[in-house]
């Protein structure tokens, strides 16, 4: 972690109960050159996987049958220690403004409604990765002046 990282080194965890969507996300990300990707279709294992995988970006579907997406968003946000930043991007088929507001209020860094434009999605992912890396560099500089 101490050496400077490239965006392609970023670790991305995608949580979605729909395997087709996970496959699409993976396909897009692979195409963009990201190499560390983990797809999780069982959201109940999200916390466990998050702790094990230590992602730089989480892609989270909000409407899943087995868990409350908002509660999961909240709990995943809390896994990040104080002074650290792991952006969470919400992918949702819920187009209502309430859903957007709620997700953003609970700590989501971005929200993309499904079906999404793959270019737009890729750009937003890149933005969040950049944010994550800049944050890490800043934290690193602060630690070692």
């Amino acid at each position: 972690m101490t050496r400077p990282r490239k965006p392609s080194d970023a670790r991305i965890l995608a949580i979605d109960d729909e395997p087709a969507n996970l496959a699409l996300v993976e396909a897009v990300l692979m195409r963009e050159g990201y190499r560390h990707f983990e797809a999780l279709s069982e959201p109940r294992l999200a916390t466990e996987r998050h702790l094990a995988f230590r992602p730089d970006l989480v892609l989270l579907d909000l409407m899943m049958p087995s868990v409350d997406g908002y509660a999961l968003l909240d709990s995943l946000g809390r896994l990040t220690s104080e002074g650290d930043l792991v952006p969470i991007m919400v992918l949702t088929a819920d187009t209502s403004i309430e859903a957007k507001r709620r997700a953003l209020a609970l700590g989501a860094r971005d929200i993309v409604t499904k079906p999404f434009d793959v270019f737009e999605f890729a750009l937003r992912v890149a933005n969040l990765i950049e944010l994550r890396l800049m944050f890490q560099r800043l934290a690193h500089q602060n630690r070692e002046p």
């Binding site: 729909e18 969507n21 699409l24 897009v28 088929a93 187009t95 499904k114 999404f116 270019f119």
Partner: protein, 780 residues
């Protein structure tokens, strides 16, 4: 007949006349008596005088006789003696007798006596002549008289005359005695008559007085007594009989009393009828149990409705305590609590279960009203009971139905949201992978590229369908909140045209637009834009290549009318009615145009949700093409009420002056909106407008407003300057600031004296709230 006439006349005489008559009758009788007595005494006096005269005549006659007799004897003595001393009686007789006879002539009225007197006078003068002859003979003869024949003859003649005189006098005396006796008798008669007359007059006086008393009694006293008894009857409320009462004051009084009695009777009758009617109404009411309670709660009256509702007849229930109607063990306590509430508040209303005679329960609405007399003492209670079991059941059913409908609506919303999600999720993969394929299709054949393009197009179409179905469903379910604000139609049309230009260019279409000046429309801006885009898109898609689209707007009465006219092939009149139905597409265009088939349907739903109307018309100029129009309410006073809930009137501050609100705002649309709101919500308020800061300040000084709405960005001076100036002149004047600058709204304006800060575009409920709040505080 006559007597009745008189009696009527008497009754009709005024009291003054009656008094005069009553006093005059005995008075007249008394005067008559006095006159009669006077006459009688005069008659008596005359009779007495007659008697006295007769006696005087007798005396005079006797005196003549005596005088002549003495004169005769004196003459004889002289004859014998020759002494002149004996001549004295003769001389006296010569002197006195004529006097006496003269006197007698004056006093004698009786003819017979007068004849006697004449004779006496003759005889007396003969006697005096005889005596004078005797004396003359004596003179001649001297002393020797005896044997003298002259003397003897004279003496004899004298004697004869004297005897005749004596006889005459005696007969005259007799006559006078007769007269005296007759006069005496007459005097006696007159005295007796006088006595009788006096007695009769006394009797007449007595009778007259009695008559007067009778008159008085019959004319006044009896009638006054009757009047008094009438008054007593009247006081007791008895009716007085109609009767002849005379036209004098007492009669008039009696008539008035009879009239009063009739009036009282009529009123009493009316009152009784009113009470009867009231009683019948109360008793006849069947839907309401109306009954009265005494102050302790015992039933004292009962009507049909009460009997119908509660099952008790009035005989059964009268006198029982009304806690009988309450179910449960604490019936008495609860009933008395209700009475106590009624006593405290004057009335109390309660809803709850009550029990019938047969023990069944019903849901009752009960109003108990305390009845107090004029002194405020509690006299009892009136109780009105309604059986609203049915209504309650209906309400419960309604509530149940409402809940079910709400559940259904919620379920529908949930379903729609789920459906959207469920459809979008697979669509995500479809569109996503298709995009990836499209990116990577270089190297594959043209057929693949075309197929990928089909997938993408079909997927996007499906997505549009989902969005529009969801919109329609949300609007129909009332879930789509419309944010109705004043929208400048011209600007929105400009925007829509701008967004449509690209599509128009690709079809070789030119767009013209022509919007007249008008007040803002009341609409949801985003949704209005959506409708405009949809209509423009249709006008472009269904146009001929190189055609044109004209979009215009004008004011039609209190609405704005927007028309989108194209130069396409138009609409078959037979299909025009179906245009706004979902999934209706023009047969001619279906083959070559794309679209969800929901655009017009959605547009109609949106326009109607904004209080407008939408429709299709052939082109007004009869050229080929179609004209789609819609109308939206202008933000005029008459158009707003449909869109905004009514509000309570403003707190009234002073009765003498209308509420004045000063609006300092340079944006015409906003000023018009505020004016429209005021006209709608505070019709009593006067709105004063200023579009510049200095003018606003002048108007404030002139009109002394109750409230100022102040735009912070004015052409001449800043709003905060106006705020400061207003604060200096009117420290208590509430000022509500309006600003389009969200950052400016964050400043601490309250410290500068502002009551509230509102950001533009104006949120209508927030503005109403702020105005009312500010005025409330001002009045408080």
């Amino acid at each position: 007949m006559m007597a009745r006439g008189v009696s009527r006349w008497w009754a009709n005489c005024p009291l003054a006349t009656k008094g005069l008559v009553v006093v005059a009758v005995p008075l007249l009788i008394f005067l008559g008596s006095v006159a009669a007595l006077y006459t009688i005494s005069r008659m008596e006096a005359r009779a007495e005088q007659d008697v006295r005269l007769t006696i005087a005549i007798q005396n005079d006659v006797n005196e003549v006789h005596a005088l002549l007799a003495e004169a005769s004897s004196g003459v004889r003595g002289y004859l014998l003696t020759g002494e002149p001393r004996f001549l004295e009686p003769y001389e006296r007789a010569e002197r006195v007798v004529p006097q006496v006879t003269e006197r007698l002539r004056g006093s004698i009225r009786d003819k017979e006596a007068a004849v006697h007197l004449t004779r006496i006078e003759v005889l007396a003068s003969q006697k005096r002549e005889g005596l004078s002859l005797l004396l003359a003979a004596r003179e001649r003869t001297g002393a020797d008289i005896v044997g003298d024949p002259a003397i003897a003859a004279g003496l004899a003649a004298n004697k004869q005359v004297l005897d005749a005189l004596r006889g005459e006098i005696e007969s005259m005396q007799d006559r006078e005695r007769e007269l005296l006796a007759a006069r005496q008798e007459r005097l006696d008669g007159v005295r007796l008559n006088g006595l009788i007359a006096t007695g009769l007059l006394t009797l007449a006086g007595l009778v007259g007085s009695l008559f007067a008393v009778f008159l008085f009694s019959s004319g006044i006293v009896r009638r006054v007594q009757r009047l008094e008894s009438d008054a007593v009857l009247l006081a007791q409320g008895e009716a007085l009989d109609e009767r002849e009462a005379g036209r004098d004051e007492i009669g008039l009084l009696a008539v008035r009393m009879i009239e009063a009695s009739a009036l009282l009777r009529a009123r009493e009758q009316a009152l009784r009828e009113g009470e009867e009617r009231f009683r019948l109404v109360i008793e006849g009411v069947r839907d309401y149990g109306i009954f009265a309670l005494d102050p302790d709660g015992h039933v004292v009256s009962w009507n049909n409705g009460a009997e119908r509702i509660k099952g008790w007849t009035s005989e059964e229930i009268l006198g029982r305590h009304f806690s009988t109607f309450y179910p449960g063990d604490d019936a008495h306590a609860r009933s008395m609590r209700n009475l106590a509430d009624a006593v405290r508040g004057g009335r109390t209303e309660d809803e709850g279960w009550r029990v019938r005679k047969d023990g069944t329960l019903f849901w009752a609405n009960v109003v108990i009203t305390a009845l107090r007399d004029e002194a405020g003492a509690l006299r009892g209670f009136s109780k009105v009971t309604r059986d609203i079991t049915e209504r309650r059941r209906a309400q419960e059913a309604l509530e149940h139905a409402r809940q079910e409908a709400e559940q259904a609506s919620t379920a529908k919303s949930l379903f729609l949201s789920r459906m959207s999600h469920e459809l979008r999720t697979p669509l995500n993969a479809i569109l996503g992978f298709a995009q990836l394929l499209e990116l990577d299709h270089s190297g594959r054949g043209k057929t693949d590229a075309a197929s990928i393009d089909q997938i993408l197009r079909a997927g996007r179409h499906l997505l549009a369908l989902i969005d529009e179905v969801l919109d329609i469903a949300r609007i129909e379910a009332g879930k789509l909140a419309m944010d109705i604000v004043p929208v400048a139609l011209g600007e929105t049309i400009d925007e829509a045209v701008g967004l449509s230009l690209l599509e128009a260019e690709s079809h070789g279409i030119t767009i013209r637009h022509d919007v007249g000046p008008m007040a803002p429309v009341a609409a949801d801006r985003r949704r209005l834009l959506q409708v405009l885009l949809n209509l423009l898109s249709n006008a472009i898609k269904y146009n001929r290549r190189g055609g044109e689209v004209v979009i215009g707007a004008h004011v039609a009465s209190d609405r704005a009318r927007v028309e989108v006219v194209d130069s396409g092939i138009g609409v078959d009149p037979g299909q025009a009615g179906d245009l706004f139905q979902p999934f209706t597409r023009l047969a001619a265009g279906a083959a070559r145009t794309e679209g969800t088939g929901l655009g017009l349907s959605l547009s109609r739903t949106l326009i109607e949700a904004m209080g407008g109307a939408i429709g299709y018309a052939p082109r007004a100029d009869h050229r080929e093409g179609a004209c789609f129009w819609f109308e939206l309410p202008l933000t005029a006073p008459s158009a707003l009420p449909d869109l905004l809930p009514a509000r309570a009137p403003l707190p009234s501050h002073t009765a003498t002056r209308p509420l004045t609100i000063l609006v300092v705002e340079d944006n015409l649309a906003n000023a018009q909106l505020i004016e429209a709101l005021a006209a709608r919500h505070w019709p009593e308020a006067r709105i004063v407008n200023a579009m510049q800061a200095r003018l606003g300040l002048d108007l404030a000084l002139r009109h002394r407003p109750d409230l100022v709405l102040l735009d912070l960005h004015l052409p001449d001076m800043d709003g905060d300057w106006v705020l400061r100036e207003l604060g200096a002149s009117f420290p208590d004047l509430p000022v509500i600031l309006l600003t389009a600058d969200a950052l400016a709204a964050q400043s601490d304006w309250a410290a500068h004296g502002a009551s509230a800060v509102l950001t533009k575009p104006i949120d209508v409920p927030a503005l109403l709230e702020a105005v009312e709040q500010a005025l409330m505080e001002r009045t408080a």
